[in-house]
Amino acid sequence: MKIRDHSELFKQQDYQEQFERKKEFENPWPAEKVREISDWTKTEEYKELNFKRENVKINPAKACQPLGAVFCASGFEGSMPFVQGAQGCVAYFRSHLSRHFKEPFAAISTSMTEDAAVFGGLNNMLEGLENAYALYKPKMIAVSTTCMAEVIGDDLNAYIKTAKEKGIVPQDLLIPFANTPSFVGSHIVGYDNMMKGILKALWAGKKGEANGKINIIPGFDTYTGNYQEIKRLMAMMGIEATVLADVSDTFDSPNSGEYKLYPGGTPIPDAMDGVNALATVALQKYSTVKTTDYIQKEWGQKTLTLSPIGIRNTDAFFAELSKLTGKPVPAEVEAERGRVVDAMVDSHPYVHGKRFALVGDPDILLGMMSLIMEMGGEPVHVVCTNGDKHFEAEANELLASSPFGGNGKVYAGKDMWHLRSLLFTDPVDVLIGNSYAKFLTQDTGTPLVRIGFPIFDRHHLHRQPIIGYQGALNLVTMLVNTVLDELDRKTEGSASFDVIR
């Protein structure tokens, strides 16, 4: 028997008639009024009104600090993310991350309610630590905060000290913490704060002999494929590297018929020894600002920020690493470069002169802009809800550095409803963004390449790297085939429906 689910069922005539009948009760607007307003939202006049908005965000592309904090905290061996505050937040973080990665995600809440609002959250913290330690046996409990704990001013340092003094958890249990108010910054800042908090706790008293290793901090990078890739590249270079925080197993663990609460992560001794590394290389800038500053100032360790998305960025990455370690870039890496460049040369006719709109986190945007311009594509609208003035300046500088950046404009602090106006008044060929950008595709017909976070509606994209030369090849494949899919869609039924391209 033919079974029809929602994707077909409601197109049936009986349901279409039901929907018509229901309007009697809905008090709907007349169809022509809806059409009139719909048309108006596509105009320059509407765009101006839309851009005057100062007090409300509509379809913003950013999340809050503690999401980034729990993400970061989960990348260490045996580490339990632990959030002081109301419990709904943690339920949301767990759902959000699971929807993207299709993986389980464990995190703890201290379930603060009205009484904690009045008396403070000390009791919640104490009982929370006791239960979490007994039930889930973590090696480390990484504490961050929701806005509730921040507004009432809970003192994490004092609370954790009390827990240890009272013997609720062992004295030597690692309990790093970070204040992560959701009304400051975004998830990338939360990542930064938590990373700094964790390094503070792990590195204290561990300064010793130089180990010659390199620390790699990926930043708020939701591509598990990138973690595998960076480790492969470091091995090829013969560089001993420690990834801090290595979330690749957390969010992409093999199915062995067993649920592992702590499926991997950076081993704690390795993470501790990071203080003795030769240097720390951050693969994102805007999610590691405070951490790299801390490493430099507090520990006098050299830090580099090298984001290897696109050819020139990856070139710089290898050149700098080679300079830093004295190790040459191996021939295999050069061959990989040659292959992706060959692919870009082959595909350039379909990307050259194409206009792009991009929305996402700052570092991904900068990398994608760079790659697109390397192929002769033009970034036109660059929307970064969580971008600050530093990002704006850097992005503008990047646009100015290429003849293909001349039509580009950067919109820091704007959202996807702003982008909707831009796509109507100044259309582009391709849109780059997360899953929620599909509503822009629905409204404006602009084809979407899903890059960034969250990606809920396509599977496994995060398992492939987008960094390094191999990552560039993956990105180029996605970009050019989206253009070609769109070309097919537009030429269906015409002579231009080519079979060879």
């Binding site: 028997m1 079974i3 689910d5 929602h6 039901q18 229901k22 009760f25 809905e26 008090n27 709907p28 307003i37 939202t41 009104l49 839309n50 007090n55 409300v56 509509i58 913003p60 809050c64 503690p66 109301a86 709904g88 937040c89 339920a91 949301y92 767990r94 759902s95 959000h96 929807r99 299709k102 389980p104 464990a106 995190a107 703890i108 809440s109 379930s111 309610t113 919640n124 009982e127 929370g128 630590l129 239960n131 979490a132 007994a134 039930l135 806005c147 509730m148 507004v151 959701s182 009304f183 663990s253 199915n255 062995s256 018929g257 067993e258 649920y259 592992k260 409803w417 929620y436 409204d443």
Partner: protein, 476 residues
């Protein structure tokens, strides 16, 4: 006390042994062996109390209940997540409350609208910004029929007066503005959020809609959020019975529908937990009786159709029998196709709202047995309605933790588990067939005669997927 009950109680005690003393004592009250007769006093679980800190509860918050469940689906209301950025982001179109309408023009369901609090809002308050935000939204979305302000934690903590802002601005812009005090720290779960949201429907919208004529057959479909089109499938049955559904609460609903509900003759409630409050209000204030029903699976659906028809005249009762006769062959065909593949399979459920009890019959229609069931945010009246539907000695769990669920799974060895997104991938790793029973795993509808074939198909693909057999189990 029977041996099945004793065995289950022993298992529960073993599981509880891992807890520290205080939490052990507390959690013991929330786990029980089922006694369908209700005689066994130690078999009643405690519910609707605070979750213990640190245990990894699955529960959400009042905001999730008020915005995510009740107000979010009202399609022509502009719903503002008032406070910092996260809450609206994480609840953005995650419940699949389907609707018809043009998004951003005359409907707003798939949008995430927030005042995005910054530090200055915490220090100086958010009321002024809220006032301006409402006006900006009014300018951009002139066809919005109402505005909802769904408070996040800081709003209540810093002492903002969103009620005053609402009152003042509503006068200027002439559409209902509904302030909803659903800060996440209020109450112990989503549940209080449902209640708060129900109360605001009563206070700001109910009784204010336009309906030209009424008939003796006017009913409201309450507590159906149209997940994957559920409410549409249920409405189809009610309409075929000759009833006139004047309002859906709140799947695919409009402000006007919420308003005219007070003119119905009967309230039909599916999710009792989240909407019994508005039914009681309408009973007290408008004399409208209400009844619970269950449109999952043919047995319960036939039964419910007859009970609903019993509230009306012979014409409706005749129609009801005709509807049952019409769909019986189709339902038999579904059962004939899927029951052989599912017969005797054991199910463990841990969900919210109505599903821990309402889906039992549908599983039984397919020959499956629910061996454990529990609610994230149920109250004692939910559990009282559940005990008789489950076998003696089955596990009843309230506000279960990740640890407990894993342990029950290990010991009960269910053939499939139905729970939420946070549990889904844990079970995938365990190699235990799993179906999300909040979002229908992006499938649906599951309600009514059009929903049951989809339900049966989905449970079959869950239990019988060949992918489970590919897992190579590592021996410890």
């Amino acid at each position: 006390m029977s041996t099945t009950i004793k065995d289950t109680q022993k298992m529960i005690e073993e599981i509880l042994d891992a807890y520290p003393e205080k939490s052990k004592k507390e959690r013991a009250k929330h786990l029980a062996a089922n006694d369908p007769t209700g005689q066994c006093t130690t078999c009643q679980v405690k519910s609707n109390v605070k979750s213990r800190p640190g245990v990894m509860t699955v529960r959400g918050c009042a905001y999730a209940g008020a915005k995510g469940v009740v107000w979010g689906p009202v399609k022509d209301q502009i719903t503002i997540s008032h406070g910092p950025i996260g809450c609206g982001q994480y609840s953005w179109w995650s419940r699949r409350n389907y609707y018809n309408g043009q998004t951003g023009i005359d409907a707003f369901g798939t949008m995430h609208i927030t005042t995005d609090f910054q530090e200055k809002n915490i220090v100086y308050g958010g009321d002024k910004g809220l006032d301006l935000a409402i006006k900006e939204l009014r300018g951009l979305f002139p066809l919005g029929r109402g505005i909802g302000i769904l408070s996040e934690c800081p709003v209540g903590l810093i002492g903002d007066d969103i009620e005053a802002v609402s009152k003042r601005v509503a006068k200027e812009i002439n559409i209902p503005i509904v302030p909803v005090r659903c800060e996440g720290f209020r109450g112990v779960s989503q549940s209080l959020g449902h209640h708060i949201a129900n109360d605001t429907i009563k206070d700001y919208v109910l009784g204010k809609g336009t309906l030209e004529k009424t008939t003796p057959y006017d009913v409201n479909l309450i507590g159906d959020y149209n997940i994957g089109g559920d409410a549409w499938a249920s409405r189809k049955i009610l309409e075929e019975m000759g009833l006139r559904v004047i309002a859906q609460y709140t799947g695919d609903s409009t402000i006007n529908e919420l308003g005219i509900a007070s003119k119905a003759k009967l309230n039909l409630i599916h999710c009792y937990r989240s909407m019994n409050y508005i039914c009681r209000t309408m009973e007290e204030n408008y004399g409208i009786p209400w009844m619970e029903f269950n449109f999952f699976g043919p047995t319960k659906t036939f039964d419910s159709i007859r009970k609903i028809a019993g509230k009306f005249d012979e014409k409706i009762q005749k129609n009801a029998e005709a509807v049952i006769a019409k769909y019986t062959p189709l339902m038999e065909k579904v059962v004939a196709q899927f029951r052989p593949k599912l017969d005797g399979k054991k199910v463990m459920l841990y969900v919210g709202g109505l599903r821990p009890r309402h889906t039992i019959g549908a599983y039984e229609d397919l020959g499956m047995e629910v061996v454990a069931s529990g609610y994230e945010f149920g109250h004692s009246d939910d559990y009282k309605r559940t005990y008789p539907d489950m076998k003696e000695g089955a596990v009843i769990m309230d506000d279960a933790t990740l640890y407990e669920m894993e342990e029950f799974t290990r010991r009960l060895k269910p053939d499939m588990v139905g729970s939420g997104i946070k549990e889904k991938y844990t079970y995938h790793k365990l190699g235990v067939p799993f179906r999300q029973m909040h979002s229908w795993d992006y499938s649906g509808p599951y309600h009514g005669f059009d929903g049951f074939p989809v339900f049966a198909r989905d449970m079959d693909m869950t239990v019988n997927s060949p992918t489970w057999g590919l897992i190579r189990r590592q021996r410890a």
